[in-house]
């Protein structure tokens, strides 16, 4: 009976060791590959871009980044203004409060529109199948961005 118990315990220990070894080995490989992957490299790898597609899409991104950053700064400023107005009891329901809230909502809509326009431009450079997959993935983030702005 003792030997059967010992066999079971040894098997469990071996199983746990095999689990740890295979998981840590794979995790190390994944961490190493993702640590050195830029967002654009991820895009190229994930959607199997050819060199030509990659070059054209990279140009699109470079043209879009300054516009996106400007919009981001504008959005952040408006959000901070709204937070300041909201925290001021004297400005509760004031025209400033209404204006900041309206402006923020407009900027969110505009951000989504710019984002969608841009992803369609990028998708147009991809192979049809990859293009659909890219659009599907990116559109899912629009909802998440909406949730993020509400928090």
């Amino acid at each position: 009976m003792k030997r059967v118990t010992l066999t079971v315990v040894c098997s469990l220990v071996l199983g746990a060791l095999a689990f740890a070894a295979s998981y840590l080995w794979q995790k190390h490989r994944i961490d190493r590959s993702h640590a050195h992957t830029t967002a654009f490299e991820w895009l190229s790898g994930e959607f199997g871009l050819s060199d030509e597609q990659r070059a054209r899409i990279e140009t699109l991104h470079q043209q879009y980044f300054p516009e996106c950053e400007d919009h981001c700064i504008h959005y952040t400023d408006t959000r901070q203004t709204l937070a300041a107005v909201t925290n001021d009891p004297g400005l509760d329901n004031s025209p400033e409060h209404q204006a900041a809230a309206t402006r923020l909502a407009e900027l969110e809509k505009e951000a989504d529109k710019r984002f969608i326009d841009f992803i369609y431009q990028v998708a147009a450079e991809m192979d049809p199948e990859q293009s659909q997959r890219y659009l599907q993935k990116m559109k899912a983030w629009v909802e998440r961005a909406g949730e993020l702005s509400r928090n």
């Binding site: 469990l12 095999a18 295979s22 998981y23 967002a39 991820w42 900027l107 984002f115």
Partner: protein
Amino acid sequence: MKHEGYDDQFEAALQSLQGQGAGQDLTGFEHEVWSEIAIRDGGRTSAGTASSSSLPAPALAACVVGAIALGSLFGLSKAQAYDRESSLAVERRYVESIHPVMMSADHSQHVHH
């Protein structure tokens, strides 16, 4: 049938002799016979115990191989889940670079941390 009779008599004699205890006077011959019986009986008992408590070699090998295979399989499946999470984190980084609202959330996270 004859053998069963002998066996019964032997068992009865054995019990009666064992009942007399170690302190009883035994002749040298009886002592030798009992010693011999004790040695053989002990050997048979320990061999029986060993064979019933140990697993046959193929079963033992199957246990070890099965445990290693299952452990590795669980490890690889957990690593696959980790890969999906990491991939999603890189995807998020990409989206944060092209969506103004997501970018602003990323910036504010950097400011707060």
